[in-house]
Symmetry: C2
Subunit: 315 residues, 2 copies
């Protein structure tokens, strides 16, 4: 198993990326091999300092970096030697089994969609967030931002993708799927929610439990909550801001601590044909380590095969 | 000034409504006269116990009640002697200057729109929530649920209505108006947000400051935040649930306490031709008292005249 990591992506790269690699390797006894893509000159002294087991990683040199604010398509085209471009090239050619970056999110999305392609039958890829719940478990909310306008069928596909992710990665048995809405009964909500409800209800692959409301997001009413990316993104950023409030106001609470979303590392881009994980720009060592762990889990669990099978059946 | 109050609406009516009347009258030295609409037999002993100044209220008997789960249009039609029907009848005939109820929200909306009508030029009424901010001030978020699907022009009208409310009721000078979105720059967001941005920008009645994100909702980035009622409702219910979490987990914090949205009483139905205020079903005495105070403020400030003038100009 070879996991590719963009060492140049993120506000604290490459230092935090190297620390994250160390954190992961120190706690992992498998034979997962890390392919570290970045500027060799910058990486060499950091890697030497970290005293890593050299058999567990390989450095692939990249001479360019795509900045956080560059135009994604243009940057990918003009910077073929950037860490992101090289990462997708390696993934496309099966030299790595997963690719992780905390760099330019747009470039990661464009790269995932156009160089890796979507799994057959999937109309749009989606990104998600884990949702800490008061009972200690975690839920999943998707989409959280790349699909601002959706059709009912998109939400149904997100539900299937989220459900498989919840089952195979998060270990939830028969995940309960809820449709985010502004009322409990069928027929409530905006036109999108009204049209999506019957499609979710009739889908035999899903354990659909009906509508959930804003008050249910952090409860265990549903394990997978689907919505378009506009509302999902607002929810995620609002939840992050609640955590900021708690920190600023010195509120000490185990549950509130879990709203530090950066610790979860990043989101997989569900729907693309290979494991791709996008991290927060502000990823620190723990986030990098967690993303490597997530990539490993996605490969080991054969999540993408499960998704492929599921969408073949649907066809 | 005569303020009408539905004494039978809400889960704790009429007892909490009577207590709310007392709370208001005890703290109010004006000549505001309250018209208490409800079952005389139920009210008489409660009012006697409360030892209110009898010159400050009149009881209007209602022999029917519209239940919280009744179908709004049907209930209003079949129960002309209900407190809500009588309230709107009195308001329509200028016997009262404002009408407040914590009863069936749907019936209140239908009554407001069909018996009171909208102010000329306004396409849809809207409901809002005050938003507690960390610096101690309050913002306004609208729509929070009755307009699940919106056109760009609707959001612009909500912005104008919210702006006038923020100025004349909440006392904010030149309220900053923000468009809820999932990115900062113009051009970001879903189709609705993309189409709304230029309309807000060109509207000379508004102090439009651009897009705001989920993380800005509880900051003072904008004083008035506009969105369609789907996202707004999810935000409101999610914020309420955060408060529930804080209470359950025994988190003591002045700011978190302000997320007890019930204390704010209720929301005006902005856009209708007379002051109409809808309360939470679970309204307690403080909520009732605050709603009476809000009605008084809406009348005194001549808010509806300001709205009328503003929409005449717009035409």
């Amino acid at each position: 198993m070879r996991i590719g990591l963009d060492m140049m992506g993120g506000d604290f790269a490459p230092a935090e990326a190297v620390k994250g690699v160390k954190l992961f390797l120190d706690g992992d006894a498998s034979n997962a091999h890390l392919v570290l893509i970045g500027d060799e000159q910058a990486l060499t002294p950091l890697l030497a300092d970290a005293q890593l087991n050299q058999s567990r990683y390989t450095v692939v040199h990249s001479s360019q970096v795509i900045g956080m604010n560059e135009h994604p398509t243009k940057a990918l085209k003009e910077k073929p030697h950037s860490s992101i471009s090289i990462g997708f090239h390696l993934l496309q050619n099966k030299k790595i089994d997963a690719f992780i970056s905390a760099g330019n999110t747009g470039a990661m999305m464009v790269g995932a969609i156009y160089s890796i392609k979507l799994i057959e039958g999937i109309q749009r890829p989606t990104i998600s967030t884990v949702v800490p719940r008061e009972n200690g478990s975690y839920g999943l909310l998707l989409d959280v931002g790349i699909n601002a306008d959706c059709k009912p069928e998109n939400l149904v596909q997100f539900a299937v993708l989220g459900s498989l992710y919840s089952q195979y990665i998060m270990g939830t048995d028969k995940p309960k799927v809820g449709l985010l809405n502004i009322g409990e009964e069928e027929g409530k909500g905006n036109l999108l929610a009204q049209a999506t409800y019957p499609l979710l209800k009739e889908n035999t692959h899903l354990n659909f439990i009906g509508n959930v409301e804003g008050r249910d997001v952090f409860k265990d009413t549903a394990d997978v909550i689907v919505c378009e990316g506009f509302t999902g993104n607002v929810i995620l950023k609002m939840a992050e801001s609640f955590h900021d409030v708690a920190v600023r106001r010195n509120i000490k609470d185990d549950y509130m601590d879990k709203f530090d979303f950066e610790q979860y590392g990043g989101t997989p881009v569900l729907g693309v044909a290979e494991p791709v994980i996008i991290g927060h720009g502000i990823s620190g060592q723990r986030a990098f380590s967690n993303m490597i762990g997530l990539a490993k889990k996605m490969i080991e669990s054969k999540l993408l095969e499960k998704i492929r099978e599921s969408f073949v059946e649907v066809k």
